[in-house]
């Protein structure tokens, strides 16, 4: 009997304990979205911009942080979430980005609440200042911008489809800077890459005049450089900051000492340097499960593409070493992604920049500061980059401790902008859109006209001329049908192309696409083949997919006066998203001159 008393007691007690543990409240992985911009966060580790405050709480009222501390009283009725096991970080600041299209939205999806643009069209600056002062609910990060950059005709920065007011002499500096300020630029960025044999650049006298003009008119001036020598010359000229680390040579003691004394800052942009140096960091980021779910097809494509060419003196290891030496000496290091260059993308790449800063030797804490408090201070941006009373409620919460393991910055739990929670959804239709297969593999035989095969022509696909005038270049292309194609039964497509300078990568050629740019799936095809003859030289075949905003996947091939068949494997179009094919082009360029060439029997091969 005593036996049974014991067994009954102990089994009911164990069952009771199990039930209690099971039914006790657990943190709701709620996805209670804060519908107004007043709330409280309790018991969370707060990274305030420089250090971690454990078990703190904070209160946000109308989009502004009004209390931070351990023992604060949370008013009744205010929505509250518990942050045990989580870390709260100030909204991230990307100190080197180029903004257009969806950039500010893509940035905010990864907790970047402030974007410091280093060259974009002045059209993007419209409403920028009003927006960043307001505390309304938004799905986009706030923008500070250099607007147009200072460069010479044909220099770095002129290769994009943005009209750039160039500058060639020191006399123009004052007016040029005044024009930027009038357009709304917050600071001035100049490109200083003298004495190289691949691109034109401002000379030292003009660059120095721009720095002086900027300072005279009360704005900061930062410089794009790629060599130690150029960096040293900019330092001597009184630059405020460098927007890349130089990667050709190890930094000198003299440079370090002077940089510390003059108080300049450096935005190393290791992410883009890794991409130029072929480190495939972009592809690794695109494959990260914390990242990939929030990227659009376009962004993934941007991450897996590379520069396609190697540039002189881009050594990633030297870049990391120089960054560490400058950091160790006390030079402020700012995290910037240089998105959307190949291998980078807005938002996600800033997290990778922090990771690369840690790989270079910074502590995780310093890397977090480089993306928060340090840029806010360097650019004089108040109320951002730190968690303190009076600061704007721009912050993110992440699961775990990014101050110990920087990769935790990507384990984003909530993103708060202007005190409102941002729904972390990627734009609709980006990945889930299923495109129907291309109606026919026969893109064009050009036997009677320049239209594609009937199935495609009925769908609105056409062959047209394409040239770099859409990017403010001067090249011209004209396409028309000629008799006597390669197969001698019908015609061919003649392309008359004038490649002229004006755009960094000039092109002109023939383009196959639907007029409305609707996408098709070409997954079924292994290769594309066509016959071609014409002015001898190197030509390029390009594949276009949805939402492209950068150099499309391409392959080059040689053409001679005689017809020959070119077959290009689809796999060799690196980064191609074959499920959202939009168009195909065969172009001449970038060599300048007149090109006449004929194309026939363009066919996708299974």
């Amino acid at each position: 009997m005593l036996n049974r008393v014991f067994f009954i007691t102990i089994s009911s007690l164990i069952a009771l304990l199990g039930l209690v543990i099971f039914f006790l409240p657990t943190p709701t992985q709620e996805n209670e979205v804060f519908s107004n911009n007043s709330f409280a966060v309790e018991n969370i580790s707060i990274f305030d911009g420089y250090k971690v405050l454990k078990n703190h709480s904070l209160i946000v009222e109308d989009g502004i942080i009004t209390q931070v501390g351990k023992q604060i009283i949370i008013p009744k009725g205010i929505s509250t979430f518990h942050g045990i096991g989580k870390t709260l970080l100030p909204g991230l600041i990307d100190s080197h980005t180029h903004v257009y299209g969806e950039a500010l939205r893509a940035s905010l999806r990864f907790g970047v609440t402030t974007s410091l643009d280093m060259f974009t069209s002045p059209a993007m600056l419209k409403n920028m200042k009003d927006k960043r002062q307001s505390l309304t609910n938004t799905s986009a990060s706030d923008l500070w911008s250099a607007g147009i950059l200072a460069t010479v005709p044909g220099g770095h920065g002129t290769q994009f489809p943005v009209s750039v007011e160039t500058i060639t002499t020191a006399d123009e500096a004052h007016t040029w800077v005044a024009n930027r300020i009038a357009e709304g630029s917050d600071y001035i960025k100049l490109v200083y890459m003298p004495n190289n044999n691949y691109i034109k650049s401002l000379d030292l006298i003009t660059a120095s005049a721009i720095i002086k003009a900027g300072h005279d008119q009360g704005v900061m001036v930062v410089a794009h450089i790629s060599t130690l020598k150029a960096a040293q010359e900019m330092l001597d000229a009184g630059i405020d900051g460098l927007v890349h680390i130089f990667t050709d040579k190890p930094v000198t003691e003299r440079f370090i000492a002077q940089a510390v004394k003059d108080g300049i800052f450096v935005i190393p942009t290791l992410t883009v340097i890794a991409a130029v140096d072929g480190q495939k960091t972009g592809a690794a980021l695109a494959a990260n499960p914390q990242v990939t779910a929030y990227l659009t097809t376009l962004q993934k494509q941007g991450l897996v593409t590379n520069f396609g060419t190697s540039w002189p003196s881009f050594d990633f290891d030297i870049g990391m070493q120089n960054t560490l030496k400058l950091y160790a000496a006390g030079v402020p290091i700012l995290a910037g992604s240089d998105a959307p260059n190949p291998g980078t993308t807005h938002g996600a790449s800033l997290h990778q920049e922090m990771e690369l800063l840690v790989r270079a030797g910074l502590t995780p804490l310093a890397a977090l500061s480089a993306a928060t408090a340090v840029p806010a201070q360097a650019f004089g941006i108040k109320g951002r980059g730190s968690i303190k009373v009076g600061a704007r409620a721009d912050f993110i919460t992440v699961v775990g401790r990014p101050d110990v393991d920087i990769s935790r910055s990507l384990f984003i739990d909530k993103i708060i902008k202007n005190g409102y929670e941002v729904k972390r959804e990627k734009p609709e239709g980006s990945d889930n859109m299923v495109h129907q297969p291309l109606e026919s593999s026969l893109l064009g035989t050009f036997d009677t006209d320049i239209l594609p095969s009937t199935d495609l022509a009925e769908q609105g696909f056409t062959w047209e001329g394409t040239d770099d005038r859409m990017a403010n270049g001067n090249s011209e292309a004209r396409v028309y049908q000629i008799e006597n194609g390669a197969d001698e039964t019908g015609g061919a497509l003649r392309v008359h192309a004038k490649i002229k300078s004006g755009f960094l990568f000039p092109w002109a050629g023939a383009y196959f696409a639907r007029t409305d740019q609707a996408a098709r799936n070409i997954d079924a095809y292994k290769a594309i083949s066509f016959q071609i003859r014409g002015t001898p030289g190197k030509y390029t075949a390009l594949m276009f997919t949805t939402g492209m905003a950068r150099i499309p996947p391409a392959q080059t091939f040689n053409v001679s006066h005689d017809w020959k068949t070119i077959t290009l494997d689809m796999e060799a179009f690196s980064g191609l998203k074959s499920e959202s094919f939009v168009g195909f082009a065969i172009t001449a360029g970038p060599a300048l001159g007149l090109f006449d060439y004929d194309i026939d029997n363009v066919i996708f091969r299974e």
Binding site: V5, F6, N43, Q71
Partner: protein, 252 residues
């Protein structure tokens, strides 16, 4: 022999449980006092907020298991020794381990019963939400905490007569609770008292519990639970040695 020991253990347990059920006036106070104190400090007193409820969940859990351990062993063993019950036990074929094991098991049962209302009040009254793993870990720690207090109870029980054991058990119990920071955080105490506090197992165990629930630290110091665990292990070994000595001495 093995089954005899086991049977003896089950019977001892059953008997202890029946004893408590038939004379609840001895055990009820130790079960009810912790939850009453918890409700008072975490809910009723002015300034009580959610932070307090979480903080005191950790510390009052230790407080709750201390009662059954110190009194059950200190007073219980002293009583049974005084009445000659221990001598009879020793003469009986049931091994000592069955007697001791049953007392420990029953202590764990009462400790659980004292903890459950506190957990329920914290979870459903104060809205404290913790992952299942944290609740379970906290329960595990709170139950494990009986070990040093049982040893203290044994030392008292083996060393003193029943009257003395009641008095000393009360003093030890109150000192452990108050000085150990179970009622109020020790940073409120004068420095000298704080120095005493950190030598108490109740304080060290409470710190581990606070680290488990990630409660706010009242000062800027960081919790290092691994240090607290080391200290508790050392204290336990020390108390076990003392208990062994006390047992050996009363035997002779």
């Amino acid at each position: 022999m093995k089954s005899l020991a086991l049977n003896a253990f089950f019977y001892e347990c059953g008997a202890e449980i029946l004893k408590a059920v038939r004379a609840p006036e001895y055990i009820l106070p130790t079960l009810l006092m912790p939850i009453a104190f918890y409700l008072l400090f975490a809910f009723a007193l002015p300034g009580a907020g959610d932070n307090n409820a979480l903080y005191f969940l950790a510390t009052y859990g230790i407080f709750a298991v201390m009662g059954p351990s110190i009194f059950g062993f200190g007073v219980g063993v002293a009583n049974e020794r005084d009445r000659g019950w221990l001598s009879i036990k020793r003469a009986s074929p049931a091994p000592a381990i069955a007697y001791l094991g049953a007392k420990i098991t029953v202590t764990l049962i009462f400790a659980s019963l004292a903890l459950i209302p506190i957990y329920l009040a914290a979870g459903f009254g104060a809205g404290i939400a913790l992952p299942h793993s944290v609740w379970a870990l906290l329960l595990g720690l709170h139950l494990m905490s009986v070990i040093p207090f049982i040893l203290i109870g044994l030392i008292v029980g083996f060393s003193l007569g029943s009257n003395g054991a009641v008095a000393i058990s009360n003093i030890v119990f109150l000192a452990m609770a108050a000085l150990g920071g179970l009622w109020l955080p020790i940073f409120l105490f004068p420095d000298a008292l704080q120095k005493i506090s950190i030598t108490l197992p109740s304080y060290q165990l409470a710190e581990i519990a606070l680290a488990i629930v990630d409660a706010p630290t009242p000062t800027d110091s960081l919790r290092v639970p691994s240090e607290n665990i080391t200290v508790v292990v050392i204290m336990t070994i020390f108390l076990a040695s003392l208990a062994y000595l006390a047992w050996a001495r009363q035997r002779n």
